[in-house]
Assembly symmetry: C2
């Protein structure tokens, strides 16, 4: 019984994942998801948090949720082990700190990690793929997007999360309306504004996520002409 954690963040307008490399063992040339054995006296969530802390140096992910269990025989050459995959979403991942088993930790763009030529350890590529699909689907029905940004954020920042994950441009005006109006109510204005960027522009309003951010369906993914559905 192991727990593997898919740690996602956005760097340079790209959805990215933290991968580690371990010494020894098979797959020592492969990158892998951080993870390890669950201790008998901890919950699954606690095990995921511990692995986050030990192997990636992350203490407080903005979002942590169980994804799925993987138990195909042969998914791990060494032992027959079932793994519970977790999804963690964090905001800053500038300097990943490897620890525990991990000798190296690095952030890769998801698109690159899923490329055919790249080899990840075990069935971690499949897990990563599933995690990314899940995030895309969940953005449509929850406030998960706010986990990618800071405690306060502008709507442009939040919209950028959607656009990055979905790979689709969104209309800024309609995006704003979707979030503000209706019963969604998963962001609220702080009343403050942020300073504009170096390019100038009107100072944006600062928002925070509301406690009930995990209900409702804030934004709809547009499915229009020529939209090659990547599946769910």
């Amino acid at each position: 019984m192991t727990v593997d954690v898919v740690i996602l963040t956005i760097t340079d307008e790209q959805l990215s994942v933290l991968l580690i490399r371990r010494g020894g063992a098979p797959y020592q040339n492969h990158w892998a998801l951080p993870g390890g054995f669950k201790h008998p006296d901890e919950t699954l969530d606690q095990a995921a948090r511990r692995e986050l802390r030990e192997e990636a140096g992350i203490d407080a992910p903005a979002h942590l949720a169980q994804l799925q269990a993987y138990g195909d025989p042969g998914r791990d050459q060494r032992t027959n082990v079932v793994s519970i995959a977790y999804l963690a979403v964090v905001r800053d991942l500038a300097a990943p700190a490897p620890g525990g088993d991990a000798t190296e930790a690095k952030v890769f763009p998801v698109s690159q990690s899923l490329a055919a030529r790249v080899r990840l350890a075990f069935d971690h590529k499949r897990i990563l793929k599933d995690a990314v699909d899940r995030v895309g689907a969940e953005l449509e029905h929850s406030g998960l997007a706010t986990a990618f940004v800071g405690p306060t954020f502008t709507l442009s920042e939040l919209r950028s999360v959607y656009e990055t994950v979905w790979g689709t441009p969104l209309d800024a005006a309609n995006f704003r309306r979707s979030l503000i109006s209706s019963d969604a109510r998963f962001v609220e204005s702080t009343g403050q504004t942020a300073p504009p960027g170096p390019e100038g522009g009107r100072p944006p309003e600062l928002f925070r996520s509301t406690p009930q951010w995990n209900t409702g369906s804030p934004v709809k993914r547009s499915r229009k002409k020529g939209d090659d559905d990547p599946g769910r």
Copy 2:
């Protein structure tokens, strides 16, 4: 590593679950979900199917999907074990056939099984609760409803599934349009009609589910006045 299966069906207009009783062990006075240890040479899905067959006598569930893993320490008095919960949906559950460890198998209405006075073994009540929530949510976004009915079905039958699971009456006319029109396309007419019931009435059209029944969002759950949201 065990696999537990929540087997849901609809009997007498009620969402119902199959529970079993085992001899010996603790909790021998409690009803429990069918399940057991995963074998090293099988996948999780195969383990779930095997338990379905061995303990409940079910060979081909209309729907089988993984739900979630449960691993709180203390959830099982005897051993510290992580359990992967599965959801199975079947159509007929008239004569449940206990086998293997199970000495008794019976179908209970979900509402009754979740009542405060009823005690289920381990954390099975929580698992059942989670499963029911999931089904309710998934009806809104997939064709899962068709798993509750036969290979061909009338729209009244299908609508009844939604109404039973959600506990809300749906407008027959709008229901039909939701399914037929738009891009959902998760049911199609067989061109045939079924004989009307003993009360008479126009003979209903027979439908079948399409292969891509697990995409799209066929019907929306109406959230109107005084709708006490049960949460997701």
